[in-house]
C-alpha cells in the first residue's frame, strides 16, 4: 500500500468515526463558507438586479420645451407620447414650477399629476399620504422643517405674479390692488423624503396650480418612466425629436447616480461582513482544533512512541483540518447559492445566475482558512512528550 493511501485512510477515519467532535468544526466552516459564497454571489449579482429595478420603474426620460416654440403644452406632450408604446409607459409626470410664498418666504411649488409622479419616482418615501384630491399638498422634508408642518396640518400659500410688481412700479398704487396675489389654504397630506432637491419643494395638483396662479401655462418638464432597452429609448428620442418640434426629449441618468452610491455602500458592507465572518470562522475552527488536539494528546504520544516525527504529526492534523475545510467549503458553496437565491427571490423577486467558478474558489478559501486556523493547535500537538503521555494516568 502507498503511504499516501494510509495517510488518507487515517485522516478520513478520524473525521468519519469521530463525528461529533468534528461536526462542530465542520459546521463552523460550512456556515462561514455559506455566508461567504452567498454574500459574494449577492455582491456580484445585486448591481445587475438593482439596475434593472431602477431602470424598470424610475424616470429614465424627460421632455423639455424646445427653444423658440410654443413650449411644452399638454397638446405637444400628447403628441410626443404618441411615439411611445403605451404598454411600455410606466408613468408620466408633467411638472410646472412656480415660486410661491409661504409666510412671506419664497418657496418652489411644483404642480404635477401626482399619480404620475408616484409612478415615475417609486423611491420617494412619503410620511403620511400622497395627496388624493385637490386642496392637498405634499411638502418636502426641508420645507416641512422650516415651517414646522406635518401631515394633517394646513398650509397657507400665496402667489404674486412676477409681472405684477413691475406693473405696480410703472402704473402706480391702483394697479397693485388689482394684481394682488391669490392666497389658498392647503391641507398637508404628507411629507416627502427623497434624499434629493425635491425635499425643498411642495407638490400640488396641476388644477390647484392653475387656481393659485390664475393661468394655465405650459409645463416646464415632463418626466417619463419607460420600460425599454437602451436602444428602444434611443429610438424614441430620435422619433420624438424629428416629429414633434416643440418637444426636446432627453434620456436621464439621475437615478443611476443614486443607484451607484447605494451600491457602493452596500458592497462595502458586504465586504466588511465577509471579513468578520471569515475571522469568526477561523476563531471557531482554531478553538475546536485546540480542543481536539488536547483531547488527543494520548494518541499523539502513542504515534510518537511508534516513531512518528513532528513532521508526520503536523501533516496528519493539517490533513484533517484541510479535509474538513474542503468538505465544509463544498457544503458552504452549495448552501451559499441557495442562501443567495433566497435573498434574491425575497428582495428582488428574480433569480440569480449560478457561477460555477465560485465552488472551487469557496473550497480553496475554506481550506486556506482552516489551514491557517490549525497552525497554532497543531504546534501544540508536536510538543507532546510520548514518555509522559504513556506513563499511565
Amino acid at each position: 500500500m502507498k503511504k499516501q493511501n494510509m495517510f488518507f485512510r487515517m485522516i478520513t477515519a478520524s473525521l468519519v468515526r469521530r463525528r461529533s467532535r468534528m461536526l462542530v468544526a465542520l459546521l463552523a466552516i460550512a456556515v462561514g463558507a455559506t455566508i461567504l459564497s452567498g454574500l459574494v454571489t449577492i455582491y456580484y449579482d445585486v448591481p445587475r438586479q438593482m439596475g434593472e429595478q431602477f431602470r424598470n420603474y424610475g424616470a429614465n426620460m424627460i421632455f423639455l420645451g424646445a427653444a423658440d416654440s410654443e413650449g411644452l403644452t399638454p397638446d405637444a406632450v400628447e403628441r410626443g407620447l404618441s411615439y411611445i408604446d403605451a404598454n411600455k409607459l410606466v408613468g408620466v409626470a408633467p411638472y410646472r414650477y412656480e415660486t410661491v410664498n409661504i409666510n412671506e418666504q419664497p418657496v418652489v411649488a411644483a404642480g404635477t399629476d401626482l399619480a404620475g409622479a408616484r409612478a415615475t419616482s417609486p423611491y420617494w418615501i412619503v410620511s403620511g399620504e400622497w395627496p388624493a384630491a385637490d386642496g392637498e399638498v405634499l411638502v418636502g422634508e426641508d420645507i416641512a422643517d422650516v415651517f414646522d408642518v406635518k401631515a394633517g396640518d394646513t398650509l397657507s400659500v400665496s402667489f404674486t405674479p412676477a409681472t405684477a410688481e413691475a406693473t405696480t412700479a410703472a402704473e402706480g398704487e391702483d394697479a397693485q390692488e388689482e394684481t394682488n396675489g391669490i392666497e389658498m389654504t392647503f391641507t398637508v397630506s404628507g411629507t416627502l423624503d427623497t434624499g434629493g432637491s425635491e425635499e425643498n419643494y411642495i407638490f400640488i395638483s396641476l388644477a390647484d396650480m392653475e387656481a393659485l396662479t390664475g393661468e394655465s401655462a405650459a409645463y416646464d418638464v415632463v418626466e417619463l418612466s419607460i420600460s425599454a432597452t437602451q436602444n428602444e429609448l434611443n429610438a424614441i428620442v430620435d422619433s420624438v425629436t424629428e416629429n414633434v418640434s416643440s418637444v426636446t426629449p432627453r434620456l436621464v441618468k439621475r437615478v443611476t447616480q443614486s443607484e451607484t452610491t447605494v451600491l457602493s455602500k452596500l458592497q462595502s458592507l458586504v465586504l466588511l461582513v465577509t471579513i468578520v465572518v471569515l475571522l469568526l470562522t477561523m476563531i471557531c475552527v482554531a478553538t475546536t482544533m485546540m480542543a481536539v488536539v488536547t483531547e488527543r494528546r494520548k494518541e499523539v504520544g502513542l504515534r510518537k512512541a511508534l516513531g512518528a516525527s513532528n513532521g508526520s504529526i503536523t501533516m496528519e492534523f493539517m490533513g484533517e483540518g484541510m479535509l474538513l475545510g474542503a468538505v465544509g467549503g463544498l457544503l458552504g458553496s452549495i448552501l451559499g447559492f441557495i442562501f443567495a437565491q433566497a435573498v434574491s427571490m425575497n428582495v428582488f423577486n428574480s433569480s440569480i445566475t449560478f457561477k460555477p467558478l465560485l465552488i472551487p474558489i469557496t473550497i480553496l478559501v475554506s481550506i486556506l482558512v482552516t489551514g491557517l486556523a490549525c497552525l497554532i493547535p497543531v504546534r501544540s500537538a508536536t510538543d507532546v512528550d510520548p514518555a509522559l503521555v504513556l506513563k499511565g494516568e
Binding site: 500500500m1 493511501n5 494510509m6 478520524s14 502513542l302 504513556l390
Partner: protein
C-alpha cells in the same frame, strides 16, 4: 554479544533518584523480566531503553551505540527502527480498526501493508477481529493487537511495561505464549511486571528497589 548495555545510569528528578547508578547487560535474544515495588523506577528504565527519555547520568548502548545523548529526532528514528513497545494500558488509536492500528506502525516505519498486518493479527489469534474498533474488543484482544503492532516491523528489542497488568489469567496465558514464540524466533524481550508468574517464564529476573538494582535471579528451569 550484548544488544543493550546500561552503564551507571541515573535518572534524577529534583532530589529524587528514580534510577540510581544502575548497570545492566542484556544479550541479543535474551528474555529479561524486571520486577520491583511501585515507584522503584521500572517504567523510568523502560522509557530510557525505549528512547523516550534520556538518563541524567551514565551511558546506554544499544547495538553498541550510545543513545544517551542523541537528539529527540534521532531517538524517534532509533525507536521506530529497533524497538517494539507494549504498554499496560493498551494504547490503541480509538478510531482505527485493529488492522489499521497495526498498519500505523508500518506507516511510520516503512510502508503500510494490509496483508502483512492481517498476518500479524492472525499470529495473535485475532484474524476475525481485524475490522473491529478498539471499543469493540475485549481488554485481552486489545493487548494482543498491541503485540501484533509491536512485532509487525520485526524489532530487535520488544519492551513490555506490565503487558498483563490488566488481563485475566486466560489472556495472560495467551500473551505469555506469544512472548515464548517471539523469544524462540530470536527477539530480545524486556518485560516489566508485578506478577511473579510472568517473571518466572523469563530467563532472568532483575529486581529494582528505590532506583537501585537490588537482586538478579536466573531462572534455572527456563524452557522454551
Amino acid at each position: 554479544m550484548s544488544l543493550l548495555e546500561i552503564k551507571n545510569v541515573s535518572k534524577i528528578y529534583g532530589n529524587l533518584h528514580a534510577l540510581d547508578n544502575v548497570s545492566l547487560n542484556v544479550d541479543a535474544g535474551e528474555w529479561v523480566a524486571i520486577m520491583g515495588p511501585s515507584g522503584s523506577g521500572k517504567s523510568t528504565m523502560m522509557n530510557i531503553i525505549g528512547c523516550m527519555d534520556k538518563p541524567s547520568r551514565g551511558e546506554v548502548l544499544l547495538d553498541g551505540k550510545d543513545i544517551s545523548k542523541e537528539s529527540a529526532k534521532r531517538l524517534t528514528e532509533i525507536r521506530r527502527d529497533k524497538i517494539g513497545l507494549i504498554f499496560q494500558q493498551f494504547h490503541l488509536v480509538n478510531y482505527l480498526t485493529a488492522v489499521e492500528n497495526v498498519m500505523v506502525a508500518q506507516y511510520y516505519h516503512s510502508l503500510p501493508d494490509e496483508k502483512e498486518a492481517l498476518e500479524a493479527l492472525e499470529r495473535v489469534g485475532l484474524a476475525d477481529r481485524a475490522k473491529h474498533l478498539p471499543s469493540q474488543l475485549s481488554g485481552g484482544e486489545q493487548q494482543r493487537v498491541c503485540i501484533a503492532r509491536a512485532l509487525i516491523n520485526h524489532p530487535e528489542l520488544i519492551l513490555a511495561d506490565e503487558p498483563t497488568g490488566n488481563l485475566d489469567e486466560a489472556n495472560e496465558g495467551i500473551v505469555l505464549e506469544l512472548f515464548r514464540l517471539l523469544h524462540r524466533e530470536g527477539t530480545t524481550l524486556i518485560v516489566v511486571t508485578h506478577d511473579p508468574e510472568v517473571a518466572d517464564v523469563a530467563q532472568r529476573t532483575i529486581v529494582l528497589d528505590h532506583g537501585k538494582l537490588s537482586r538478579e535471579i536466573v531462572n534455572e528451569n527456563f524452557h522454551d
